[in-house]
């Protein structure tokens, strides 16, 4: 039951953070309203600069708007980054079990997936796969406190992903995940299914 509650909370969190990634639906209305108000104010109160022709009200608003926009972006970016950090419980799609991700109630869903591998003697470990275009620099893993485990958490849409670990420059499949078909390029991959309902 506790696991179900945690899954439900994690699913709700995933939906909420996913919602933050989309532009507000009212944006077109805002734009229309802004333009309407600007036209109305211009017609009602034409304010001119001492030199004559420029709308002083608008020229003052733009720098303020840009500054405020940047400030909001920093705050918004911080919120988005905070939402993508590992939450407790972090694992909703266990790489050891491709079917263990929780049910979600539809809609586009991003789920946090925790990858881990035991590599006590490694100096550097990263994860590569379909989700990062097999780029070994974008998802470095962090060594756990006991020094044995390497972990990273990634937010992924529902889907099927091939992946592998890169341990000190050498590729290795996940020993706890299903294998992919064939070794097209000489080293095997693992498969992760991030499932919805």
């Amino acid at each position: 039951m506790r696991e179900r509650d945690e899954d439900h909370l994690t699913g709700a969190l995933a939906r909420a953070t996913d919602g933050l990634r989309h532009e507000p639906e009212l944006r077109a209305e805002w734009r229309e309203e802004v333009l309407r108000q600007a036209r109305a104010e211009r017609e009602e109160q034409p304010i001119r600069s001492p030199r004559g022709t420029t709308s002083r009200r608008l020229s003052i608003s733009i720098p303020w708007a840009i500054a405020a926009g940047l400030a909001c972006a920093l705050v918004g970016g911080g919120v988005a980054r905070l939402a993508s950090r590992p939450q407790a419980p972090a694992v909703v799609a266990d790489t050891r079990n491709p079917a263990s991700s929780p049910a979600t109630d539809g809609a586009p869903t991003m789920l946090p997936v925790k990858f881990s591998i035991v590599a006590p003697n490694a100096a550097r470990v990263s994860i590569v796969g379909d989700f990062n275009h097999w780029n070994p620099t974008t998802l470095p893993m962090k060594r756990s406190a006991d020094g044995r485990l390497w972990e990273v958490e990634v937010r992924l849409p529902l889907g099927r992903y091939s992946y592998a670990f890169m341990i000190d420059g050498h590729l290795a499949a996940d020993p706890d995940a299903p294998s992919s078909a064939g070794d097209d390029f000489g080293t095997p991959n693992s498969v992760l299914m991030v499932r919805g309902s």
Binding site: Q37, A99, F131, W134, V191
Partner: protein, 213 residues
């Protein structure tokens, strides 16, 4: 609208655009052919991608496969061969799955089916697995079943044994969890020294009988 709210509207619009851009998910990153692949190989690969797009097949798996080849140090000719093979398998998988394999939401199923074909599953068998009459599985369950099948084949279970085992489980309306349990159980048996084929047969028989092995 007041001057303050007007300014706030502009600021909010700018903030929302910047925030959306900053929060782009990993998997939504734009794909393309790796820069390392040049010349005629790049031309051929681009042609394969364009052909797939024209045929209504997803192109992301093709880009991903090319990137995987580059990371693994494969030469360009090998990458072309593998991407061409994947393109064909995606097409065959879509045809075998029928309506289940045509929507964008079913991309995991389509790629799982293509992977099963790559592992040696005959197209006719894929068609049978996907269309089981009254016991036809949903797309998510079928995708997991195919992932399990591929994993079993990778563990040296003969394709026909793996296929019949998965087919039996589908016929009995096995759940996603049961497919995963089968895979995990076979892993344990192999680690304990059992033959993969015998392990699959015994565990599927146990699941069909409703008792643990």
């Amino acid at each position: 609208m007041s001057k303050l709210s007007f300014r706030f509207s502009l600021a909010a619009a700018a903030a929302s655009m910047l925030t959306v851009a900053a929060a782009a998910p990993l998997a939504a990153q734009e794909r393309g052919l790796p820069d390392r692949i040049v010349g005629s190989s790049r031309t051929v690969l681009q042609h394969l991608v364009d052909s797939a797009r024209t045929a209504g097949l997803p192109t992301a798996p093709l880009y991903d496969k090319a990137a995987e080849g580059v990371l693994k140090g494969a030469d360009d000719d090998r990458i072309v061969v593998v991407v061409r093979s994947l393109t064909r398998e995606l097409g065959e998988a879509r045809d075998a799955l029928g309506p289940m394999g045509t929507s964008a939401e079913q991309l995991p199923l389509l790629t799982s089916a293509a992977s099963a074909l790559h592992a040696g599953l005959p197209v006719a068998d894929l068609r049978r697995l996907a269309h089981r009459g009254g016991s036809q599985p949903d797309a998510s369950t079928l995708a997991t079943a195919l992932v399990t099948l591929v994993d079993l084949v990778a563990k040296r279970v003969p394709v026909n044994v793996a296929t019949s085992s998965i087919q039996n489980l589908i016929d009995r309306r096995a759940t996603v969890r049961q497919f995963s349990d089968l895979r995990a159980g076979v892993d344990e048996d192999i680690a304990a020294g059992h033959a993969p084929e015998a392990s699959v047969v015994a565990r599927v028989r146990a699941q069909l009988g409703g008792s643990p092995p």
